[in-house]
Symmetry: D2
Subunit: 90 residues, 4 copies
């Protein structure tokens, strides 16, 4: 499958922001913060990760499933997506 050709710079900066949020949870755990606050921060990280994952899926769908150069590429792109969906939809 050809390389990921989405706007990686934007994705990388989103990922770094999420890493910053995780460092916030780390500090909260180190300072034995209130677990309500830790749960809120974890829920916010989950939302950010879900948005990031969905964007990568969209690019994969458009570039490797629909516009794959050959039918074989399209098929393998679709099977990759189906495997990923299995891990999300339990």
């Amino acid at each position: 499958m050809s390389h990921l050709s989405l706007d990686n710079t934007k994705l990388i900066s989103r990922l770094r922001r999420i890493k910053g949020q995780m460092e916030g949870v780390e500090r909260a755990l180190e300072s034995e913060a209130d677990c309500g606050e830790v749960m809120r921060q974890l829920a916010s990280i989950r939302g950010a990760m879900t948005g990031l994952t969905r964007e990568v899926m969209e690019v994969h769908m458009r570039e490797h499933v629909v516009a794959g150069p050959t039918e074989a590429d399209r098929k393998s792109g679709a099977e990759e997506m189906i495997q990923i969906l299995k891990s999300y939809m339990k």
Copy 2:
């Protein structure tokens, strides 16, 4: 609400492992890796974050909802949990 009194050292090391996985995704994006691989790594991070979040929820349920020192503490612990569930169950 009293501080989070779960085994924070274990949670912190789990969190650091997940941060390491995120650095892996960052490298994959920087090297324009195949988006199937990026999606697989993101799905694995999601699984690890879900497990970590569930553990914090369990401690919160046992320590702040059931065993909160007063009925008022128990009520506010339960309301915190209900708000968190709203963000997970959409």
Copy 3:
């Protein structure tokens, strides 16, 4: 655990509406409708089921975890909730 004392009549009518949606999917499948439409109907059912489940969880949290008559009742209510969360948070 004491009986579910939430407004069952409202929950039952919500459940019947969802059953009606499912009959809609059944007709769509029987008439070999477009799978995009079937997926949209299934997503809508999922949303309705999630809302209904969350409401039952809220009542359980308030009535059986926080306000359980004894500490033993509260503990078993919390453990029930923790088991349910495991099935949702994979």
Copy 4:
């Protein structure tokens, strides 16, 4: 988009089984059953619905996104899938 050409008979019987489970929840609510039991039944229905939905998505991916007769068909099949993913990945 061409009609859903997956094995509808199997899907319809799965859907009917899930409807039967919902009737079980209806009876449980009518008989004011224990909400732990109602939550377990709802979680089981959710699992069955998720499996059914995933199967329809797989067929859609293979038949309408990868093997759509024209590029325009493939594109519209992919966009339908992307919209559905948005409702699942919040």
